[in-house]
């Protein structure tokens, strides 16, 4: 009590609160400033801590001394009751100007101290940073790991832009993935089941072209022979196949599209999303090791190059611009067919 009862006479008596951050350093702060933070306020009232250096209030781990300084600056300004809304707004705008790393730390710290106005302010600032940027820019700003596979990245966009090129690419990815997986399984299993595969070439091609129901069927059956044949087919005449695919795909695209549109929303969506569930994060990453992933990526890139010589750039464009209604002509190696423009209604 004797510390609080002043022996030194000061013109303005202020009482101070002692705060300790996770690294052990202790700061003292004017009481009214500290009380602006709900968490500190509660600590003082409920436990009586903070009145002296030995009984400093321990702050949550997310608050380091530098950030604490910033937060106290904020509290010091805003706890003064007489300020106008305009003044507060101006202060906030200036206060929030800091680099992104600091901003994130500040948000985290303000949240742990339950200082809601500051959390709102920083959230708004972070939203402003994110808004309008491309995914690459956002990743760079926040150091986010680019750990989604190409297909996963396309998924949510696919649902929204409904670009047929993206859908086509996804189907090819899906097929490629399947083949790789089967190849893996072939290496492990000795016994082969005898089962005649009497599906015609047309059936197989129609599978590729989007009869998703069929694809589920053949995926679950462990028929190696069929797979091998399919694999052989695709391997030795892969270029022809892909060209044929291209043609077939292009053929079916215009007619399929209007129907696709309608069935998209109702029927195809479930099957597409179920397809995606097959290739869920957990499933794929467990089965394929990194080497296989690389191989897959390489093969996919190969395919992509065959589809269109400037696909990566095109892809970037599509991803950043959003739904693109018009298809540019596709140049396919070896195929003379040019597909120009897809008119939606």
């Amino acid at each position: 009590m004797s510390e609080a009862g002043m022996t030194v006479v000061k013109p303005q008596m202020k009482s101070y609160i002692w705060l300790q951050t996770a690294d052990g350093s202790i700061q003292q702060v004017e009481e009214e400033v500290a009380m602006f933070c709900p968490m500190i306020c509660r600590e003082i009232i409920q436990t009586g801590m903070g009145s002296s250096k030995n009984y400093a209030i321990s702050l949550p781990q997310r608050v380091n001394p530098a950030i604490l300084g910033l937060i106290l600056d904020y509290c010091r300004f805003h706890q003064v009751p007489g300020r106008s809304n305009k003044e507060r707004k101006t202060f906030d705008e200036k206060f929030i100007r800091m680099d992104t790393k600091r901003l994130c730390e500040l948000t985290s710290a303000a949240d742990s101290l339950q200082l809601k106005p500051l959390v709102d302010l920083t959230s708004r600032a972070l939203a402003r940073i994110i808004e309008g940027k491309t995914p690459e820019e956002i990743r760079e700003t926040f150091h986010l790991p680019d750990d989604l596979t190409e297909e996963e990245k396309l998924e949510p966009l696919r649902n929204i832009t409904d670009d047929p090129r993206i859908r086509l690419l996804n189907r090819l990815y899906a097929r490629k993935r399947k083949e790789l997986k089967e190849r893996e399984k072939l290496k492990d299993v000795e016994v082969e089941e005898e089962r005649a595969d009497d599906r015609s070439v047309e059936d197989l091609l129609s599978f590729i072209n989007g009869a998703d129901g069929d694809s589920k069927g053949c995926r679950t059956s462990k028929n190696k022979k069929k797979n091998r044949r399919k694999k052989d087919q695709s391997k030795d005449s892969s270029s022809n196949n892909s060209n044929e695919n291209q043609k077939k795909e292009s053929d079916t695209l215009p007619s399929a599209c209007p129907n696709d549109e309608v069935s998209d929303i109702l029927a195809a969506s479930p099957s597409r999303t179920s397809n995606s569930q097959d290739f869920d994060d957990a499933g794929i990453d467990d089965d394929l090791d990194p080497a296989k992933m690389e191989e897959l990526d390489r093969e996919v890139e190969d395919f992509a190059r065959r589809l269109n010589s400037d696909w990566p750039e095109r892809m970037q464009e599509i991803l950043s611009l959003g739904p693109e209604r018009r298809l540019v002509s596709m140049n396919v190696n070896g195929s003379l067919r040019r597909y120009s423009g897809l008119d939606r209604r």
Partner: protein, 420 residues
């Protein structure tokens, strides 16, 4: 988390913060965060506030394409969404009467929707589907340009606190029963209605905003009303039928609002209030009324002047008064009865709290000047009185100033600010 590269700054923030950031992004950007990294995947799908507007999709000149694009976007976003949706707002001029909207509302009615805002385009108005009336948890409803037709079995939204209907086609009985059927209703806004007669029974109503042609408004049961803003349009037929009416509009409107703190009346509001036989004295004192704004008051109509005086004299705690005139400086029809001010106006009336007075669009007609004189003489704590003459008055300004200078001021602090 010691990484070789820079550590991830943001993905490990608590879920509530990430949601708060995503909510502040336009819906399109929020959806795109799904491809940032594995921690951001489908994070947006649990947002409880969804706002769809014209920014969702890329604009192009082809209107059917834009409509199609928008419908697809919203449908798929709703399909991917998980969890409850508490707020859904659709503000776009590209969609009007479209069957997909019905489906979305059906989906929302199953998702515990609490706030619904539908602002659609001109053209054919959207007819609100009956599934909307099954949204039991609705607390806030805003409809623009819709047809609203509650089924006969509909009793009301038991949780509704805020209701806004703008340019909505609805039968008057339906509105009345809707208002009475929402016991928790606190805020009501009705605008652009034609010839609406309304009895408002809302025991919890605090905020009222009316704009349109109202033939007969009676605030039958609104004891808790705190703020009111009314813009009354009138056409000549209505004015005529009003003249014959003997019920006092002032009492019907302002007779049951003892807790009123703020009143704003626009266009023909004071004229509307002046109609009917006034019983002579008012049983009610507006002891909480602090701000009165009355626009387009005609100072050539004695009845309107009486309404204004009645209001301010029954508001002992009035702090701020704003009045705008709508008189013309052209010679009025009858010679103004200036005796009124000397004889009928009570002398011992003091505005003990009145600090700020703003008078705009003043033409300098005699009654306006007398009113200013009256205020200046009876406001001991007045701080500023600002007067802005009407733009059409050029020569009369000097006259106004000459008169103003003569007026006695009860408050030594009073500043008269005459703005050009």
């Amino acid at each position: 988390m010691g990484d070789v590269e820079d550590p991830d700054l943001i993905s490990d923030l608590p879920q509530s913060i990430l949601e708060s950031i995503l909510t502040r992004l336009p819906i399109r950007d929020a959806v795109r965060t799904s491809i940032l990294s594995s921690k951001w995947r489908y994070r947006w799908t649990t947002l409880t506030h969804l706002v769809f507007d014209d920014k969702c999709i890329r604009m192009c000149s082809d209107r059917p394409v834009v409509e199609n694009c928008m419908v697809n976007f919203i449908t798929r976003a709703l399909f991917l969404h998980q969890g409850p949706i508490h707020k859904f707002q659709l503000s776009t001029s590209y969609l009007q009467c479209c069957p997909d909207i019905d489906q979305w509302i059906l989906f929302l009615s199953r998702s515990d929707i609490k706030e619904l805002v539908l602002e659609l385009g001109e053209g054919e108005w959207f007819r609100v589907p009956s599934c909307l009336f099954n949204c039991k948890k609705l607390t806030c409803l805003e409809l623009f340009r819709c047809e609203f037709d509650p089924p006969p079995t509909f009793k009301g939204f038991l949780c509704l606190r805020s209701l806004s209907l703008h340019q909505v086609l609805v039968a008057p009985e339906a509105i009345e029963s809707l208002i009475s059927g929402c016991p928790l209703l606190e805020s009501l806004a009705l605008s652009y209605f034609d010839s609406l007669a309304l009895n408002i029974r809302a025991p919890n109503l605090k905020y009222l905003c009316l704009e349109g042609e109202f033939t007969d408004i009676c605030l039958e049961n609104t004891p808790l009303l705190v703020a009111m803003s009314v813009a009354m349009y009138m056409n000549d037929e209505m004015a005529e039928c009003f003249e014959q009416s003997s019920k006092c509009n002032f009492i019907k409107f302002l007779g049951g609002v003892p807790r009123l703190e703020r009143l704003a009346g626009h266009i023909y509001f004071t004229k509307y209030l002046s109609i009917g036989d006034y019983p002579g004295s008012l049983a009610i004192t507006y002891s909480h009324l602090k701000i009165i704004e009355l626009y387009q008051v005609s100072f050539e109509d004695m009845k309107e002047i009486r309404v204004v005086l009645r209001l301010i004299m029954n508001s002992p705690n009035l702090k701020e008064l704003r009045i705008s005139g709508s008189s013309t400086a052209v010679a009025s029809v009858e010679a103004p009865n200036l005796e009124f001010w000397a004889k009928e106006c009570p002398k011992d009336c003091t505005f003990k709290q009145l600090k700020v007075v703003k008078m705009t669009d003043m033409s300098g007609v005699p009654h306006e000047m007398e009113f200013m004189k009256f205020l200046l003489a009876n406001s001991p704590v007045l701080e500023t009185m600002s007067i802005t003459p009407c733009v059409y008055v050029m020569d009369g300004r000097l006259n106004m100033l000459i008169q103003l200078v003569r007026f006695r001021r009860a408050s030594a602090e009073a500043e008269i600010i005459f703005t050009r």
